[in-house]
């Protein structure tokens, strides 16, 4: 029985690699750009904030034309003052005070939605032509990104579009470089293919939504989940809307420079992913075809991280065994076992490394291949984060400290 399960484990590696290869090949096909125009839409920017004094002013200065709603969710730093000092007539500051404040990003966004509908009643009547662009307080849109997104909404079935995310400070350290690669791989390989199915994931930053699609989810469309963006995307698809991803439209955000902060952030995401398991029954009840396959795969994917963690434990234990056993050393330090282990472990680096080099355009494929190998190692972060997230979920703890921002080095035009 044990041998059968071990064979299953090895087949898991091969099947996950095959899945990644399939997504890679599917995403490598020609990109279908929408033929319709993107004129006639009103874009409202919504920027939720909690202690963002270091970055908020520069972010607001960089936003394209359009009304901006800043939701200050109970900041106790100088966020509100920084917004007021801008004195930008486009910007409306919406302050939430305790006890309503700090109940989660979803609550803050629902509050913004209510305010938007009350202050602009006309938006409800023309909800098909009103778009809400959600930006993180450290988000930076590339010039022209919005123009690339708007034509997608000419298709009346499209409810939301996610831009590609890049890490603005990717050259700062190897850790920020790996986070950048993570977002590029996710966008270029997985999101692109999911976009063709019509069920691209939403990520919170650089996320543009049709107001009518939000209203379909009720007057409080965002859930209390730790990953309210994941929830929103799935529920939107279940309501019959398509969600798309536009890799060529880019939003930049800060990467985390400390490993501890990164693990904490990913643990929060993982715990949010566990909360999203409650969406499995609605998916079974309402989705079908490739959309059902995709959504179920995404919602159940936390289980795959635990598969990976036990495989890693097995590898570590094997290395310990080899260290203490001369017989095992003689048997395993042979070309076939070593090459087999290398291919099973680092095979994906040969796909993802060159892809990252091509997408970034700032390095050769050899360097990309090197980053590809480091990327495999970097993903161990997820294993630690998964166990931490599971532990917190088991203990019923769902309050998380917010990720600290770095000072913004590029304040932008005054």
């Amino acid at each position: 029985m044990t041998t059968v399960l071990i064979v299953c484990a090895v087949s898991a590696v091969l099947m996950v690699f095959t899945y990644t290869l399939g997504m890679y090949l599917e995403s490598a096909g020609s990109t279908e750009h929408p033929t319709g125009g993107g004129d006639g839409f009103t874009v409202v920017f919504v920027v939720p904030c909690l202690n963002e004094e270091r970055v908020i002013a520069a972010t607001l200065r960089h936003l394209p034309d359009g009304p901006v709603l800043v939701v200050d969710d109970g900041s106790d730093d100088g966020t509100a003052d920084a917004v007021r000092r801008l004195a930008d007539p486009r910007v409306r500051l919406l302050r939430r005070e305790p006890p309503d404040a700090r109940q989660g990003k979803g609550h803050a966004l629902n509050h913004a939605m209510r305010h938007l509908l009350e202050s602009r009643p006309a938006f409800r009547r023309s909800a098909d032509r009103v778009l809400v662009c959600l930006m993180d307080a450290d988000g930076r849109l590339d010039a022209g990104s919005l123009d690339k997104v708007l034509p997608y909404f000419a298709d009346p079935r499209v409810g939301a579009v996610q831009m590609g995310v890049r890490i603005g400070n990717r050259t700062q350290s190897l850790l920020t470089r790996m986070q950048d690669m993570e977002f590029v791989v996710y966008t270029r390989v997985f999101q692109r293919t999911r976009s063709r199915i019509g069920s691209a994931g939403l990520g919170g930053n650089g996320q543009v939504m049709r107001l009518s699609a939000l209203l379909d989810l009720g007057d409080a469309p965002w859930s209390r989940s730790l990953t309210e963006d994941l929830d929103l995307g799935v529920r939107m698809v279940l309501s019959g809307w398509r969600t798309a991803c536009v890799p060529d439209a880019t939003v930049h955000q800060q990467g985390l420079v400390g490993l501890r902060a990164l693990v904490r952030q990913r643990s929060r995401w993982f715990q949010g992913h566990l909360q999203a398991l409650r969406l499995v029954p609605p998916v079974v009840g309402r989705a079908s075809g490739r959309v059902a396959v995709d959504l179920l795969n995404v919602l159940l994917s936390p289980l795959l991280i635990f598969v990976g963690s036990f495989m890693t434990l097995s590898l570590v234990a094997s290395l310990v065994g080899v260290t203490f056993s001369s017989v095992a050393r003689e048997q395993l330090f042979q070309p076939v076992p070593i090459v087999s282990w290398y291919v099973l472990t680092f095979g994906a680096a040969f796909l993802l490394g060159p892809l990252y080099a091509r997408a970034g355009g700032d390095m050769g494929w050899v360097r990309g291949l090197g980053y590809g190998h480091l990327f495999i190692v970097y993903n161990l972060v997820w294993l630690v984060a998964a166990w931490r997230g599971l532990w917190r979920a088991a203990r019923g703890r769902r309050a998380w400290l917010k990720t600290e921002r770095l000072a913004d080095p590029s304040p932008g035009p005054a």
Partner: protein
């Protein structure tokens, strides 16, 4: 430790040390989780396909 598990542990030690026993066990758990994942996806897809429309 029950008498039944003693031969298993001894066998693991003989086969290259306790560490290899742990490695084998961890790989088996990984395999079990993978089977659970595949079964869950297949069963849920089947349920989605069979639901009344």
């Amino acid at each position: 430790m029950t008498p039944g598990t003693i031969p298993l542990v001894t066998q693991a030690v003989d086969a290259g040390g306790l560490a290899f026993g742990v490695a084998r066990l961890a790989l088996a758990v990984a395999g079990l989780l993978w089977v659970l994942y595949v079964l869950a996806v297949v069963v849920l897809l089947f349920a989605a396909h069979r639901r009344p429309r």
